[in-house]
Symmetry: none
DNA sequence: TCCACACTCCCCCAAAATAGCGAGGTGGCC
DNA sequence: GGCCACCTCGCTATTTTGGGGGAGTGTGGA
């Protein structure tokens, strides 16, 4: 990895504010000599954050027109797993063609590579490099830099997660072994009677476990408790 | 990146069968001179696949004892986002201590680095490198190789996703927007009446959504449906 | 154009979960 | 020895879900 890129990664690793993320994207843009670098991120509460080199006009326009629901990059990456070249996306519909044209008019590149990453609680981030150039030039750019970009995207996410954790704080309640078993059977779709039979205890006892878990998790009902236990990674189905 | 590692990555990229994945893990083990390389993967239907260099005895033991629910690596990575050194995990409980001891006895290393990756439909994969060595040796190994391992993990996932798409023909159930909203409210602990009020529809209509979601997800009851929707990343609470 | 599918509403009744009141035994920790 | 967390079991009454029927609208794709 290039020394100046290492330096940029360090700046991401030590980023504290959104401005720091912003500065990092500008540094990366200059390093790679591309039109834009953008990092876009949805935390577990569904709040969106963004840092990047797009013009303010484009960002405003994007928000105003609710292009999140149109942008094939967003729609495409939401169903994908791995780095996506914009060319692979579906630009065939009328709305997406119009969107692309307008994006280019606002200075967004005609080429792009977007790397989606997901977190355990529904966090979803997109790291994008975009440029205006021919297909051949872009392909060779990707060949040279795709791996580094994946690593950079990881660094952004790592820091973004810490940023999120800094904002939130919640106590994780521990469930007892029997409570965990009971919750697991319930999460698998068993009725209380079935789960009790599985655990070889009375249905009443099972109920006590479920209620204990519900209270510990601050849940309103069994379904809520299961949802919370799954979200917190306490149980696996 | 080392030429011989490039070769191993190519072999991952062209993997077709589980045996190919297996062979790739063995190659990586030899390349890095570590005790084990393991790739473990849960697809969007909750089916588990694995390829790695652990002994068959350990794998059997692991399955038999249902260690998925004990293993701090699994439990820890489920709540995390980024490469996890096994030392960072919680080994303080009695069961996890016993598990660790047994794992070491079966030849699993005392050190490990696990890289979790998630897909859009709740796919969840773990790529692990493990070795028996001192903390210092392991730290320097991580420093040298962590980035490469992240890229290797990405390659495994990319191929695993293609493998999944090739093997499965059963449609991944997509829930309609209203079904997703309904499921989300239910997952947040609301009763049908409350959720219906939130969505400003009759309780009966809400019930239709919940039942449709239940059928699409192949769930036995509402709680099960919520659990599946969460596991597959369809909803977030 | 028509079909499929999402969306909306209504009935009834059996089954299951929830809420409230209990009881007692074990084992670890201060 | 006392406290606390965990594990186990019982009862009754009320609320919520689940399964079985229906029926009508609107919208987007073949």
């Amino acid at each position: 990895m290039h020394p100046s890129l290492e330096k940029l990664i360090s700046s991401v690793q030590s980023a504290v504010t959104l401005e720091d993320f912003q500065t990092a994207t500008e540094g990366l843009r200059d390093h790679y000599k591309v039109a834009h670098i953008v990092y876009h991120w949805v935390n577990s509460n569904g709040e969106r954050f963004g840092a990047g080199t797009y013009s303010q006009e484009w960002v405003d326009r994007y928000v105003e027109k609710d292009y999140l629901r149109v942008d094939p990059v967003i729609l495409g990456c939401f169903q994908r797993f791995h780095p996506v070249d914009w060319k692979q996306l579906d630009w065939s519909t009328k709305t997406s063609k119009a969107f692309f044209k307008e994006a280019v008019r606002y200075g967004v590149g005609n080429q792009g590579l977007t790397i989606p990453i997901r977190g355990p609680q529904g966090q979803f981030a997109l790291f994008t490099a975009s440029n205006t150039c021919s297909d051949d030039v872009w392909t060779s750019f990707r060949k040279r830099n795709e791996r580094d970009l994946i690593l950079v995207a990881h660094e952004f996410n790592k820091r973004a997660l810490e940023y999120e954790l800094g904002v939130e704080s919640d106590t994780v309640a521990g469930l007892s072994p029997r409570e965990l078993s009971a919750m697991t059977y319930i999460a698998k779709g068993m009725s209380r009677a079935q789960a009790a039979a599985q655990m070889d205890i009375s249905e009443h006892t099972l109920r006590v476990y479920i209620e204990a878990a519900r209270h510990k998790l601050g849940a309103l009902n069994t379904t809520h408790a299961v949802a919370r236990a799954l979200s917190r990674g306490l149980i696996v189905i």
